[in-house]
């Protein structure tokens, strides 16, 4: 019996060893995968900075599909979905309506198994890139599905400004606490202690002055903006959404109105007007820019699919009008040569105010800082009065 138990134990140890070894070996066996590289490097990526002194640049994302041997998978179709970081009402970003939404969805032909695009990342946090690679020729290779994570830290400027704001709010609370916490002597014939009256008068004057400055400069800035609008409208050349030239027809269709937080679907179709067949031997260069700015929200260069189409869905996170421009140019090795065609579509984007809940939460944080300063000031003043009396 003892020998039987020993044999059973040794057998079990061997089985566990075999299972463990096979798991370790299989995990170390190279698998087909999608590799992500970025420009700038991932550690240097920062979210979009609105009204930056220097025009911000989108991040260049390169997704390379590799086989088990680490070689690029050729003649692939790559589908990409970019999901923004999840919504967090307790720690909001400056684009709360963008949180927890889809930023981009596209499917493109990747002759060399590489999908390269430029995308402006609007907020901090962990972006999810859902990639699906399928062969153009059926069963040429096993499809790959992979989820990649791209972490974008917050800009340090925001932390610095927040620190300054906290210091100011604490000082405001502290000052109020020191004044309110002092002994209040009411002179004969008066209804309020002089110090309190002075404090409240000063604060009220400050509030009036602040609101006046804000409103007056807002009015002046708005009149300046009207001039700027007319200047900006000339910085982006208008163009047709449908163009026929040199035996080709390029057509850009899709959603011309959208809202922040939602995807707008766009399609570019290239057709040979002579044969009526889709034209595939062309290069498509897509670029999306806000009408009043110079920075690119999205850019992509690729080839159309078998239908002569390129379909994509993008979110316009900045609630301002955008222009989508597609340039159709010939491939260098193609027999079809022509001067590039350019089609343009203007997109109206409706901005959405941040949720009231998020705004009230952050206002609560700021007000709490004032209250903390107030309590500290009151405690300090009472302690000093108590010490003076004793």
């Amino acid at each position: 019996m003892k020998k039987f138990k020993m044999a059973a134990l040794i057998s079990m140890i061997c089985w566990v060893g075999v299972v463990f070894y096979s798991v370790v070996v299989s995990s170390q066996t190279p698998q087909p995968a999608v590799r992500l590289s970025t420009e700038p490097p991932i550690s240097e990526i920062r979210p979009f900075e609105a009204e930056a002194a220097v025009s911000p640049s989108p991040v260049r994302l390169t997704l390379q599909a590799l086989d088990a041997a680490g070689q690029p998978l050729e003649n692939a179709k790559m589908r990409l979905q970019i999901l923004t970081p999840p919504h967090n009402p307790w720690f909001s970003t400056d684009f709360p309506m963008v949180e927890g939404t889809e930023l981009l969805k596209m499917e493109a032909v990747a002759p060399k198994g590489e999908l390269q695009l430029q995308q402006m990342l609007p907020i901090r946090g962990d972006y999810k890139l859902l990639v699906e690679v399928t062969p153009v020729v059926a069963n040429a290779f096993s499809p790959i599905q992979q989820t990649l994570t791209l972490s974008v830290p917050e800009s340090s400027v925001k932390y610095r400004n927040f620190g300054i704001l906290v210091a100011i709010l604490l000082a405001v609370g502290l000052g109020g606490g020191l004044v309110l916490g002092g002994q209040q002597e009411i002179p004969v014939g008066e209804i309020a202690p002089q110090r309190v009256r002075l404090l409240l008068s000063g604060v009220i004057l400050l509030a009036i002055a602040s609101l006046l400055i804000v409103n007056i400069t807002a009015e002046l800035a708005e009149s300046h903006t009207h001039e700027h609008h007319s200047d900006a409208s000339h910085s982006h050349e208008p163009g047709p959404a449908l163009l026929q030239s040199q035996g080709l027809e390029a057509r850009l269709v899709g959603d011309i109105e959208t809202t922040v937080g939602q995807l707008a679907k766009l399609t570019v179709q290239v057709t040979d007007t002579v044969t009526g067949q889709p034209a595939r031997d062309v290069i498509l260069k897509i670029k999306t820019t806000p009408t009043e700015e110079e920075w690119a929200a999205f850019a992509y260069q690729g080839v159309p699919d078998e239908k002569g189409q390129l379909v994509w869905e993008e979110q316009f996170f900045d609630g301002a009008p955008h222009q989508v421009e597609v340039e159709v140019s010939p491939q260098s090795q193609s027999t079809r040569q022509f001067s590039p065609l350019r089609v343009v579509q203007d997109i109206e984007v409706e901005g959405v105010a941040p949720p009231m809940r998020s705004r009230l939460i952050v206002l609560g944080y700021f007000t709490s800082i004032i209250v903390i300063g107030l309590v500290i000031g009151l405690q300090f003043k009472r302690r000093s009065i108590w010490q003076y009396r004793h």
């Binding site: 309506m97 209804i191 941040p354």
Partner: protein
């Protein structure tokens, strides 16, 4: 009767003054005033204010703009 009602009114006025000048009320007014200023500067959707404060809002942590 007249003396009694005048006395009551005087007492009410004094209670109102005492209440208004009490520390909790003063502190609440003070805090509320600054909360209102903060709301105007950082969270108001009034277009003129939004446009003027646009850069400040985008460059301050946790402040949502659009």
């Amino acid at each position: 009767m007249k003396t009694s009602s005048i006395g009551t009114l005087g007492s009410l006025q004094q209670r109102t003054v005492r209440f208004t000048l009490s520390l909790p009320v003063q502190a609440t007014l003070y805090t509320s005033l600054f909360a209102l200023i903060l709301w105007t500067v950082y969270f108001s959707t009034y277009p003129a204010v939004h446009n003027q404060m646009h850069s400040l809002r985008h460059h301050t942590l946790m402040v949502g703009c659009h």
